[in-house]
């Protein structure tokens, strides 16, 4: 399926009436994975504003050199203003050339100014109006899931993230530590029996089902691998497993990866952040490889983080908590190879509070626009997911 066909397939989904409520009928093939970089990754050093002299003045030890084909440590040109961190040369940059990735600078959440990791992560995962009282049992991906039919959601995390908490029990599984289950079928039956009237009944039921599905997939992988290749570990291993599971079984996923809070010695073209980025790039490329070309064309990955970091480096070769970030959208069928969303020239006067990137694209508008295109959601559905939000259609799909 080429890009045009995919767009038609997404857009042609007619809404269906069930019990008086309009339900979207998603393409059974449409898949979405949200990747949360916890800790606020230093976006300005990943999608680098190379045409900005202010950038180079603000980061005497951290800046990434302007694109220069001969130099391995130079940034990789995206367009005349932006370039990519060189740690992503073999993983993400090829996707850019295939137009399978788009970047949205100045993205984030405009109305949460706490600069607190935890507060802002919660705000984003819940996706509720800021300022009112929060409902911690209603995350935006859970609300999305409720609007879709034939949806198979899952969190690839040790704990169920806020974004998937809601009325329906959504399963989770720590994807790096899957082993052969010791609790046998008879015990499973007895345990379910004990929980039959408990409010944890659905949690236990879902848990056993996912446990068996995932173990089957992972044991196939283990049997298929081991041909002398270096086996991936960490987030790359997780992402490859997720790719297999989302090819075969699940179509709405969430995963997070931490370690981005670089207050001290974050490094530049090489060093701490470069290592984390290299792993992230290999992970996303590994996901695309495992899910395979047909499914990859129907898949959208959105990579987000709670906020950006201070535009100027601090006194410890690091960066502190900032505001606007850069989000990534990936997929085999997206209209990528572009820098999207409202932009400003990167200079001192453009900074928010003379300190950080501003936020020009609100994450709720971005997701609302994506959901509308991907799933053909009606305005009322979008309203139930993100109240009082005007969807932004960036033309990614």
């Amino acid at each position: 399926m080429n890009r045009r066909e995919l767009i038609r397939a997404f857009a042609a989904l007619a809404p269906m009436m069930v019990a008086g409520r309009v339900w979207a009928v998603p393409s059974t093939d449409a898949r979405l994975l949200v990747v949360f970089l916890r800790g606020a990754y230093d976006a300005a050093n990943v999608v680098v504003p190379v045409s900005s002299e202010f950038y180079y003045a603000s980061r005497p030890t951290l800046a990434i050199a302007k694109p220069d084909v001969g130099k391995p440590n130079a940034a990789l040109a995206l367009n005349s203003d932006w370039a990519l961190h060189p740690a992503l040369r073999d993983s993400i940059y090829p996707m850019w050339e295939k137009r399978e990735i788009a970047f949205i600078p100045f993205a984030g959440i405009a109305d949460d100014l706490s600069r607190s990791h935890f507060e802002t992560q919660d705000t984003i995962e819940l996706g509720q109006a800021v300022g009112g009282s929060r409902d911690y049992r209603s995350g935006f991906m859970s609300r999305l899931s409720a609007e879709l039919t034939r949806v198979k959601p899952i969190a690839f995390t040790d704990q169920l993230p806020l974004t998937f908490r809601g009325k329906a029990q959504i399963p989770n599984i720590g994807i790096n530590a899957v082993g052969k289950p010791g609790v046998d079928d008879r015990q499973v039956r007895l345990i379910k029996q004990m929980y039959q009237h408990s409010d944890l009944a659905s949690s236990v039921e879902e848990g056993f089902k996912v446990r068996d599905d995932v173990y089957r997939s992972v044991s196939e992988e283990i049997n298929a691998a081991n041909r002398g290749a270096v086996s991936p570990h960490g987030f790359e291993l997780a992402a490859r497993r997720i790719g297999r599971l989302m090819r075969e079984q699940y179509n709405l996923g969430f995963v997070d990866v931490g370690g981005w809070d670089t207050h001290v010695n974050e490094g530049a073209a090489t060093g701490y952040l470069a290592d984390r980025l290299g792993e992230l790039g290999r992970a996303l490329a590994g996901f695309a490889e495992e899910i395979g070309p047909p499914a990859w064309r129907d898949t959208v990955i959105v990579t987000i983080s709670e906020f950006g970091r201070t535009f100027r480096e601090n006194g410890d070769h690091g960066t502190d908590h900032g505001h606007g970030s850069v989000y990534w959208v990936l997929g085999g069928g997206i209209n990528g190879g572009r820098i999207l969303g409202e932009q400003v020239k990167v200079e001192q006067t453009a900074l928010f509070q003379n300190r950080d990137y501003p936020v020009k694209t609100d994450y709720r508008s971005l997701f609302a626009g994506l959901f509308q295109r991907m799933y053909g959601l009606q305005p009322a559905s979008v309203e139930r997911i993100f109240a009082s939000t005007r969807p932004t259609d960036l033309g990614i799909i």
């Binding site: 969190a155 010791g182 056993f208 690091g318």
Partner: protein, 512 residues
């Protein structure tokens, strides 16, 4: 009947006989009520036959007093004490520990041969890992066997509140001292002392980067988390400007592992503060005046830090934030606002006396009502500790490694939370499908045998025979009555003691 079947039947018969004996040995323990078990679970690391017996003997009121005001003479059981005393560095101060590890690191890095260098570095890393594992072993042994159970719960609570992550820098070698001296010493004392003890500890100064915070090289990480997490709480009214001012106040607060004092201008020399590895270096301090939370603070050195901590501890937001968190941990995911308010009033009236706040909490009608309303869902640490306590009561385990591994598998490993917010305290984090699956696996491991808990952690150790005894007198006399019909029906279908234990530890009742 073939031989295998016969042997199973013989074993089952033996098992049934043992059950009958326990049932027959019943004493007059039936007076213990469901709320008594809930109370023990609330304020300790889990019900055991002996703890239930003790509560019955002294009565609820005195039992609560014992937990709120543990006698100084209370001692750990000898077999626990000797395990702790056998650990290296247990009585050393962080300065000496850090210096000796620093030297080991330097000599490892100086090895010329690349292979030998790598080996020496591995030995060094392994030694750091061992120290962290020993510190975790101490935490576990005290949680399982300490007579001052509420204090041990508070130690976990405050460590989590003032969280540090063991894998940053050399924190693995400091984390034991951090818990023993900075946290446990003040866990039931004054909050101001506790906050100050964490601020003086190299583990915290390394973890939140204040060791790198100096005039002209501001790092606001620690300043922000003191306000957001340790005292006032996010959204309580402070601003980004306050964070920046506190960061300036904290400039120069750091770590120094040199024997000699730093070279200072004569006029700064009397400003230097050194206490072990802690150092306030006036040459790194911003001596300008500050405006912090509406208070004008005269720039004058370390006294500014004390002034800022006083201001923070007396903020009403701090009293409320801490009371809310304590009530969430001990009472309910959504504690009644009136209770939190009264706890906060006690906090302010007593200038942050932690025991007084706890006393207000446990003597409140809301607390009593919450015991009747059913038990809180256990977080992963409570689950594992309570299972081991129930399984072995006061029979002291010889190896905590299996417990450390279980806690890590359940994503609530000791000293292992990467970010400063600590582990979440509400049940939604701990009762997801993935979490429940891991719990059942661990229930099976604990229920099926000694699981390595009685094999000392030394080369060629032999495992001592032990079996979890959960179907004990306590179970038949009182616990059994607290179980639901479906749970009892499932337990009746157990095919062996191992199976019965696994099912009991997997039951919804034991998860709460």
């Amino acid at each position: 009947m073939d031989k295998l079947e016969r042997s199973i039947q013989v074993r089952l018969c033996g098992w049934m006989t043992a059950l009958a004996m326990f049932a027959a040995s019943s004493v007059d323990a039936a007076e213990l009520k469901t709320t008594d078990f809930t109370l023990i679970d609330r304020l300790t690391w889990g019900v055991t036959p002996s703890s239930a017996e003790h509560l019955k003997a002294v009565g609820v009121d005195r039992w609560i007093e014992e937990q709120l005001h543990p006698q100084a003479t209370l001692a750990l059981p000898p077999l626990v004490q000797s395990q702790i005393e056998g650990m290296p560095d247990v009585h050393k101060f962080p300065f000496d520990i850090a210096v000796s590890f620093d030297q080991q690191a330097k000599s490892a890095n100086q090895v010329a041969d690349p292979d030998q260098k790598r080996a020496a570095q591995q030995v060094f890393q392994q030694a750091m890992n061992d120290r962290a594992r020993q510190a975790a072993a101490r935490t576990i042994l005290r949680a399982l066997y300490g007579p001052d159970q509420l204090r041990e719960r508070m130690v976990w609570f405050w460590f989590n509140h003032f969280n540090v992550h063991q894998y940053k820098g050399n924190i693995r070698i400091l984390v034991g001292d951090y818990e023993d001296r900075a946290i446990r010493s003040y866990a039931m004392g004054r909050f101001r002392d506790l906050l100050s003890a964490t601020l003086h500890h190299p583990a915290m100064l390394r973890y939140l980067d204040n060791a790198d915070n100096a005039v002209g090289h501001i790092n606001e990480n620690y300043a922000r988390e003191i306000m957001e997490l340790h005292t006032m709480g996010v959204g309580s009214g402070y601003t980004q400007a306050d964070v920046e001012q506190l960061a300036r106040i904290l400039t120069g607060v750091g770590i120094d592992l040199q024997q000699e004092d730093p070279k200072l201008k004569p006029e700064l020399q009397n400003q230097l503060v050194r206490e072990g590895a802690f150092e306030f270096n006036p040459a790194r301090h911003d001596f300008g005046d500050k405006l912090f939370l509406g208070h004008a603070i005269k720039g004058r050195g370390f006294a500014e830090v004390d002034e800022a901590l006083d201001i923070l501890c007396r903020q009403p937001a701090t009293a409320t934030h801490l009371s809310q968190k304590l009530a969430t941990y001990f009472v309910s995911d959504t504690p009644p606002a009136a209770l939190v308010q009264r706890m906060a009033q006690t906090f302010q009236r007593t200038d942050g006396d932690i025991t007084a706040v706890l006393s207000t909490m446990v003597h409140s009608p809301e607390f009593a009502a919450s015991l009747k309303g059913g038990a809180k869902f256990k977080d992963a640490v409570q689950y594992v500790m309570s299972a081991v306590r129930m399984a072995y009561d006061d029979k002291v385990i010889l190896n905590t490694t299996p417990i450390q591994n279980w806690l890590n598998r359940l994503s609530e490993g000791l000293f292992n939370h990467q970010t400063p917010d600590g582990y979440p305290l509400t049940s939604a984090t701990w009762n997801s499908p993935g979490q429940m699956m891991v719990r059942f696996e661990i229930a099976r491991q604990i229920g099926s045998g000694s699981a390595g808990l009685f094999k000392p952690d030394v080369p060629n150790a032999t495992e001592q025979p032990a079996f979890p005894l959960i179907q004990n007198a306590l179970f038949f006399e009182s616990l059994r009555q607290t179980l639901s019909t479906p749970t009892l029906a499932a337990l009746d279908q157990a095919v062996s003691p191992q199976d019965w234990n696994t099912l009991f530890l997997s039951s919804p009742e034991f998860m709460h």
